[in-house]
């Protein structure tokens, strides 16, 4: 695990989290309550995490289900109280909560049910804008502006239930941006979108919000591609702890050796396989394809792949197809999660 850098004195960082811990009380059976009514059992969701997000930075958190990602987002929006430690949003303590915190934060969740499906897009946005203290005039202007920017004008007066998932998610972003907050908390914002709609939204977020407006984003996601595209820095959260934290570039570097290639080859033989293994290549035969071809899986980065291909050629193995199955960034994430899961099992 990487050593975490010392935090600077409190500043106007977008997010500053120190030694944050959250324990949930467990639901006990009636029998256990009767046996020991005053005993308190807890399940740790966050075990003392620390990090900071600078203005204009996109910080990604990846991790398996139950790692504590959503708990963290809810603590930062004051929906859950931390057990110990501190979390500040632009210097405001989230445990105190209140409008100071919530006016700085826009929350985007993947749950489409967080809207009123029988109301139109405009009616939904009007309602949430009023809850955010907007007066009628500025409210209408802001809604019109956001619908325009997000390309949702034509859907403004349609019931929310009649929209596609992609448009619904854009409306969710519009709602989060009503207050023009300097920080967005995004919990799997593209999880239910088709690849094209997801890519468009990511590009818009990166270009318009981060590069264009200098907003900070805390992105919680399962999707390594999304994290790689959007984030400057990522952290792997597993069982309530950060097991690794690095810039996206460093993560790519780390995953180079673990990148996965799928090859379709001809002339595959036991001798050839032995030669490759002897040369230190992690080559695995997947299946025998049609026409006497073989499917192989090989671990290795872009720069070393050339060596492998020439070695194969020397042993009479012909390459019919070569495709990347897992990019270095995704490979690094997968390896780290695997390591974390292994460590969790042995501990």
């Amino acid at each position: 695990m990487n050593a975490l850098p010392e935090l600077a004195p409190m500043s106007q960082r977008s997010i500053e989290v120190r030694d944050l811990r959250k324990d949930y009380p467990t639901v006990r059976s009636y029998r256990r309550i009767l046996r020991s009514p005053f005993e308190r059992e807890v399940v740790p969701a966050l075990r003392g995490i620390s990090f900071e997000v600078e203005p204009g930075q996109v910080f990604g958190i990846l991790g398996p289900n139950g790692a504590g990602k959503t708990t963290l987002i809810k603590i930062l929006t004051s929906l859950i109280s931390p057990t110990s430690g501190t979390a500040r949003v632009f210097g405001h303590d989230v445990a105190v909560g209140g409008p100071e915190v919530l006016s700085k934060v826009g929350l985007v969740v993947s749950d489409e049910r967080s809207f009123y499906w029988r109301l139109t897009v405009r009616q939904n946005l009007r309602f949430f804008a009023t809850l955010n203290d907007f007066e009628r005039g500025p409210r209408e202007a802001r809604i019109a502006e956001l619908l325009g920017v997000l390309g949702c004008e034509e859907y403004a007066d349609r019931p929310f239930r009649n929209l596609s998932t992609g448009i619904r998610q854009r409306v969710a972003v519009a709602r989060a941006l009503l207050m023009d907050p300097p920080l967005l908390l995004m919990d799997e914002p593209t999880s239910s979108m088709d690849p094209r709609a997801a890519r468009e939204l990511r590009e818009w977020l990166r270009q318009q919000l981060v590069e264009g407006s200098g907003k900070s984003i805390l992105l919680v996601t399962h999707d390594p591609l999304e994290a790689e595209f959007l984030c400057d820095e990522v952290a792997i959260l597993s069982e309530g702890r950060f097991v690794h934290r690095a810039s996206v570039a460093a993560m790519r570097e780390r995953g180079t050796a673990s990148a996965l290639w799928r090859l379709r080859v001809g002339g595959w033989s036991a001798d050839g396989q032995a030669a490759l293994l002897q040369a230190g290549w992690d080559v695995r035969e997947i299946e025998e394809a049609l026409g006497g071809l073989h499917e192989l899986e090989v671990r290795g980065g872009d720069q070393v792949l050339g060596e492998l291909l020439s070695l194969m050629s020397r042993h009479g193995i012909s390459i019919h197809d070569c495709s990347r199955r897992r990019d270095p960034f995704s490979a690094a994430i997968a390896d780290l999660l695997e390591e974390a899961a292994g460590a969790g099992e042995t501990s």
């Binding site: 959250k22 949930y24 009380p25 969701a45 708990t71 809810k74 929006t77 004051s78 929906l79 859950i80 109280s81 057990t83 409008p99 919530l102 006016s103 934060v105 929350l107 969740v109 749950d111 049910r113 967080s114 809207f115 009123y116 029988r118 109301l119 009616q123 009007r126 309602f127 949430f128 009023t130 809850l131 955010n132 203290d133 019931p159 709602r175 207050m179």
Partner: protein
């Protein structure tokens, strides 16, 4: 205050739009009001004379007695049920979390969630009274200002019950003792369908422990007999005591419920 009222109007408008979008439900709900009035009218005709002595203090008209009892019983029903139903609905739909992530205080979100039901109930009460008058109920002696004082105090007391029951729903999601106590005891002991004087003395003690008993007593006396504030001082004191006790209690309970749920992560779970 202006901001608060604007937010309450937004909640009411949101729920109106949602209710109105279910057209058949919307129409049948309001038709039920008319059918209820017809049913109470003929029930009163059928039972007329049976409770003559007990109805005498209220002018002797059973239909008028029932009309006011059912109308204000509806307010209590809204208070004890609406908060719990609306909050739970919002928790299950996921909209509660979205509302809590805005600049509006949780207490205002809770109150706002039931505001439409209170407004719709007020409309129903108006319809009850207008159609009641068309059916022959005599409101010519009504002391409207005194009735409004009782109305305001009873709404405040009911609101406290609602906030208290909302607190339990925030904490435990299902199973709310406040709602259970007031909804189950209100009809048999609150004087909704018959005067409490028909109950044995020992059971009348329960009646006096319910705010609806004092609210109905005060409203019937002011609307049907034109009683002055001094003549209904007992009801006013009763409602005042309830409000003074329930208001801080419900606010403390609600504050505790929020803290409890935030600590357990249960604010947006269902």
């Amino acid at each position: 205050m202006k901001l608060f009222l604007r937010k309450m109007a937004a909640f009411a408008y949101r729920d109106f739009l949602q209710e109105a979008s279910y057209r058949v439900y919307f129409v049948t709900q309001w038709s039920t009001v008319l059918l209820n009035i017809v049913a109470y009218f003929f029930l009163a005709q059928f039972l007329e004379g049976g409770l003559k002595d007990q109805l005498e203090p209220y002018g002797g008209d059973l239909f008028a007695f029932l009309l006011i009892g059912v109308a204000w019983g509806g307010y209590q029903k809204v208070a004890v049920n609406s908060f719990t139903i609306r909050i739970r609905e919002a928790q299950m739909m996921g909209t509660f979390e979205a509302a809590l992530a805005t600049r509006t205080a949780p207490s205002q979100i809770i109150i706002g969630s039931a505001i439409y039901d209170f407004a719709a109930m007020s409309m129903r009460v108006m319809i009850y009274l207008i159609i009641g008058a068309l059916f022959g109920v005599d409101f010519s002696h009504a002391n409207v200002p005194a009735a409004l004082v009782v109305f305001a105090l009873s709404i405040l007391a009911f609101l406290c019950i609602g906030i208290g029951s909302g607190a339990f729903i925030v904490m435990y999601k299902k199973g709310d003792p406040v709602s259970w106590v007031f909804s189950k005891l209100g009809v048999p002991f609150g004087g909704v369908l018959f005067p409490i004087s028909v109950l044995p003395d020992s059971l009348q003690i329960i009646s006096y422990c319910l705010p609806i008993t004092h609210a109905l007593e005060g409203l019937r006396m002011t609307l049907l007999k034109g009683a002055s504030l001094s003549e209904i001082s007992g009801s006013l004191i009763g409602l005042g005591v309830f409000t003074c006790v329930l208001l801080p209690l419900s606010l403390v309970l609600f504050h505790y419920a929020l803290r409890y749920s935030k600590e357990r992560g249960g604010l947006v779970q269902f």
